[in-house]
């Protein structure tokens, strides 16, 4: 009995010791769950080709929610990549926004349906518009941090990418700048171990992406990317360092993508089902459910209820976007050039 109580206290400490209230940790769970259910619906919508393309963040929810939760929404900047659905949901984009992007419909906030889905951007939320070539956002994020330092605010920048991106020159040049100028930027590598079909061992000769930080004079931290609290803890420390003017951090969240790279990929060609099944046992949503159940914040009934609630939200977003009009053809012609302001 005494052991059980002690264990419970120790477990409780995990989120409270990180400064998170019970409500906040449940909010994290909700963001992860919603991202997952939304993502699953997107795969389903692609199957009968109701939508042209989907690129998934399944498996990355803990890494993304843990990271985004440590930012001040709308104050700090995020320069995400195409898997960051849970990141942008946490930062304030809505399921309807993301469904509009999936269907490419009028009023989609990132680009009015110009870009493929999951190319997030929102001026109001300080989410910087991204492209498809990987790693290009990394030096840009350092550039935003450079501007922050110049303006002397205490904002920070979060930029995300996969381990495949760390082979690009953009990654190395961006980290080099961040190191030289002690910039308030957090580089979050969501290492899911594959660059489409190419495993990490064929991408780099060092065991960890985090090892690369040393070359640029910044800390490199490894976290369990399927444990939202582990990610949050590292991110919270990195944000604090950045706000104090102590510069950048590279965080490597080790995770796994249990689904194909995109709706155009077949992952059976490059990895075993056994490997995928093994990783599914470490699913970040399941682990969060286990944790929250252990600390008495969740039970079987609440899990069912939150699933039902998520389904409602996803249904609403799906229906909303499905029935939204396409932008008129002439909408493709505008916003090429801006107007000079004095």
């Amino acid at each position: 009995m005494a052991t059980q109580v002690a264990e419970k206290i120790a477990l409780e400490i995990t989120h409270r010791a990180l400064g998170l209230s019970d409500d906040q940790v449940l909010e994290m769970y909700w963001a992860m769950l919603l991202a997952r259910r939304l993502d699953e619906r997107m795969w389903i919508l692609h199957r009968p080709h109701l939508v042209a393309f989907h690129i998934s963040g399944i498996g990355h929810e803990a890494a993304q929610v843990g990271a985004a939760f440590a930012l001040k929404r709308g104050y700090d900047y995020a320069h995400p990549y195409y898997r960051d659905m849970a990141t942008v949901l946490t930062l304030g984009m809505t399921p309807r926004d993301l469904m509009l992007a999936l269907f490419g419909r009028q009023g989609e906030p990132s680009s009015n349906g110009r870009q493929m889905p999951s190319h997030f951007g929102s001026r109001a939320l300080n989410i910087v518009s991204g492209s498809s070539p990987v790693a290009t956002q990394i030096p840009q994020a350092a550039g935003i941090a450079f501007a922050i330092k110049y303006k002397k605010t205490d904002q920070v920048v979060l930029t995300c990418f996969g381990e495949g991106s760390t082979a690009e020159g953009d990654f190395h040049e961006g980290l080099n700048w961040a190191g030289i100028h002690t910039l308030p930027v957090i580089f979050l590598c969501q290492n899911n171990q594959y660059a489409i079909s190419v495993p990490a061992a064929k991408q780099m000769a060092v065991p960890n992406v985090a090892d690369r930080a040393r070359a640029y004079g910044i800390p490199g931290v490894i976290v369990d990317g399927n444990d939202v609290l582990d990610v949050y803890g590292a991110m919270r420390d990195a944000v604090a360092r950045a706000r104090r003017g102590q510069g950048a951090t590279l965080i490597e969240a080790k995770t796994y993508r249990p689904v194909p790279h995109s709706s155009d990929d077949d992952d059976r060609t490059y990895r075993s089902r056994a490997e995928v099944e093994e990783w599914k046992k470490r699913d970040p949503i399941l682990r969060m459910q286990e944790y929250l159940t252990r600390v008495n914040l969740l039970n079987a009934q609440k899990i069912v209820e939150s699933d039902a609630r998520a389904k409602q939200v996803v249904d609403d977003a799906d229906e909303f976007a499905r029935n939204a009009p396409y932008p008129p053809a002439e909408a493709a012609l505008g916003n090429v050039w801006g107007q000079v302001k004095s």
């Binding site: 900047y77 320069h79 906030p109 990132s110 680009s111 009015n112 110009r114 870009q115 190319h119 951007g121 929102s122 001026r123 910087v128 518009s129 492209s131 070539p133 290009t136 990394i138 030096p139 840009q140 994020a141 350092a142 550039g143 935003i144 941090a145 450079f146 501007a147 922050i148 110049y150 020159g169 953009d170 040049e173 961006g174 080099n176 700048w177 030289i180 505008g334 916003n335 090429v336 050039w337 801006g338 107007q339 000079v340 302001k341 004095s342």
Partner: protein, 327 residues
């Protein structure tokens, strides 16, 4: 009104604009302490400090990537690429990122960035210090490409470029830096991007040029004037988007056209200018459109004879203009 070199005009304009607007800063290789390898940024470090005249790592991709990020959040960076020949590692950041930022975000984000870079041959720069790169970048809507030819235009266009809400590739022909002097009006003035300028009026032939070739073309026009042939010389100034009106107005007046550029011929600027004229003013032409350009070679040779063989000059241009006059 002061007499300044092309280089002094550019440098003074940056001094003025950085004093006026604290969002403006320069970054690039050697642009800080030493004031740039051509001295274009001389004095900025002393006047505005290390925060605003930034010596960067030798890495062009991130010079532009950093500038894009800073521009997106309200700064007004002027990035220098030391030689245009070295801009290619940054091609993705310029073409896929800066040029598309407004369009891809449906104007949610913008990228008010100037990229200054010395280009062009005639200074014994060999293959990798002589390139004309404009054609690569004139194929990228969302990006202005500007190439002034006089100190007066350099000031007005650079001010417009810095205040423009979209990215501008500002091409400075390095041979003009110290060889061309001219009157530069005092005080603030801007020259709108996208407007060509008739640098010499004439009624017999329209000669269209920019950058260093503008001056060779003006010299050729002087020679022809002595022979009784009046050449109208149009300075494109902005290479993308092109000023179709000024081009077509001149062509309709003279009915004969010669396009001159230092860049290689095939798919060069001249091809597009000729296409515009063919589409819009075919009926006004009295002769086939002529082009005087660099040859389709991979580079400009270092040695005197090779460089001379490559580059168009007043003599070569005058010969083409005479043939066109006789047609």
């Amino acid at each position: 009104m002061a007499i300044k070199t092309f280089l002094e005009s550019i440098r003074d304009t940056m001094h003025d604009e950085m004093a006026r607007d604290e969002r403006v800063f320069v970054l690039g290789e050697d642009v800080g302490v030493t004031g740039g390898v051509f001295r274009a940024t001389e004095g900025l470090y002393e006047k505005f400090g290390a925060d605003r005249a930034i010596d960067t790592p030798l890495a062009e991709l991130s010079i532009i990537g950093i500038a894009i990020g800073a521009a997106a959040v309200g700064m007004r960076p002027i990035a220098e690429i030391q030689f245009a020949d070295f801009i290619h590692p940054a091609f993705d950041q310029i073409v896929n990122e800066a040029a598309k930022m407004r369009y891809r975000s449906n104007a949610g984000w913008e990228c008010p960035l100037v990229i200054r870079t010395p280009y062009g041959g005639g200074v014994h720069g060999g293959l990798y210090h002589s390139q004309s790169i404009e054609a690569f970048f004139c194929h990228s809507p969302g990006l202005y490409v500007v190439a002034p030819s006089t100190p007066r235009d350099a000031k007005g266009l650079l001010l417009s470029a810095i205040r423009n809400p979209d990215p501008v590739l500002f091409l400075e022909h390095k041979k003009l830096y110290r060889s061309i002097k001219g009157e530069v009006p005092d005080g603030e003035y801007t020259i709108p991007l996208g407007r060509a300028d008739v640098k010499r009026a004439g009624s017999d032939i329209t000669a269209i040029a920019y950058g260093a070739m503008l001056h060779e073309t003006l010299n050729a026009a002087e020679q022809l004037a002595r022979e009784g042939i009046e050449v109208e010389v149009v300075d494109l100034r902005t290479l993308f988007p092109l000023d179709r009106e000024t081009i077509l107005t001149s062509v309709r007046k003279t009915s004969k056209v010669c396009i001159i550029h230092e860049d290689t011929k095939t798919m060069g600027l001249g091809a597009e200018v000729a296409a515009i004229i063919s589409e819009e003013a075919f009926g006004d032409l009295d002769a086939p459109i002529r082009r005087v350009t660099g040859p389709d070679l991979p580079g400009i040779p270092f040695n005197e004879t090779g460089e001379h063989a490559f580059l168009p000059n007043a003599e070569k241009i005058a010969t083409a203009l005479r043939e066109l006059a006789r047609y």
